[in-house]
Amino acid sequence: MTTATLVATMLCILLCTLVTWLPRLLPLYVFSRDLPSWLKDWLNFIPAAVMAALVAPDVFLYGGSFNPNPLDNLFLLAALAATVFGLIVRNFFATIVFAMAFVAVMRSLGLAS
């Protein structure tokens, strides 16, 4: 990495730090009062919605195009397996390790890529 690229990358990181801090910090200073009940209800649904919205494209678009067939889509198959595993075991860490190991094992057995 050249010095110019390094400086540019450092600037980019600082900029991205700023846009990470702003949404986390501003509400802590602006909304320090009780929220209306409809907003509380809405916020209650945000975590489930945001996690699903983040993971779904990664899983369904594995390989670059929409692929809803789990037998032909390793990430989707791993997600289904990890969901069943997670519902039974109910352990955050074990679910992550299981999902990653599932992907690694399927690849090492040559069953998926």
Binding site: M10, L15, L25, L35, M51, I96
Partner: protein, 250 residues
Amino acid sequence: MRLHVFTMSESLSQDSPSTAQAMKLGFSRAMPIVLGYVPVAFAFGVLATQQGMPIWLATATSVLMFAGSGQFITISLWFAGAGYISTALAVFVTNLRYVLMAVALAPHVKPLKGLARFIYGWQITDELFAVHITAFQQGWKFNRTAIFSATTLAQASWVLGTLVGGLCGSVVTDVKPLGLDYAISAMFLALLIPQCTDRLHTLTALLAAFFSVALHLAGLHQWNVVLATMLAATMGTMLARRAQGKGAGA
């Protein structure tokens, strides 16, 4: 969830816990997070250094940003040739969910002033939010030592995981055999499952997943997550309020 046990015992005792007890509570809350962060941070360290980022800068990124998806999006866009504005904008949009989390946390962190509140805000991640909002919702009495024991341990593990990943970055030539490219998805899934506590939350998650993929396919590659989240959460709220008889539009 083990959390429940701790918060129940906390609320049963009227005395404020000793520093050691508070630290123990914070650390036990952070432990599952640490175990989840280490492999993901390791993956970030490997991927960042393979793109040519010096190890110190990858580690500094984890100190400053402390954001899983944000950091991965930063390096993937920046090293794909995107400029400052498009990289930062994509990260900002992905981070908009923190607004919602910080709004939810805001009434609970009033006891924190000045620098303490700043540091707490900086350390809001999906996982620390989930752990703390659950405790607050269960009526847990705010304790500064317990809060910062959890956030500090979680961030330390994130930073150290990145450092170790960075050091291994030159050794690991392909992340695929280790399943490291699935680390982020696995983390989001593991966070999602305990959120689906009832039918409405499960339905909301399914709607968000559907909207997110549909919007992505429609070409909204940066906005799909935020739009899908807000749309699905709104529908979930309307259904919940209708069921409670509070009126759908209220």
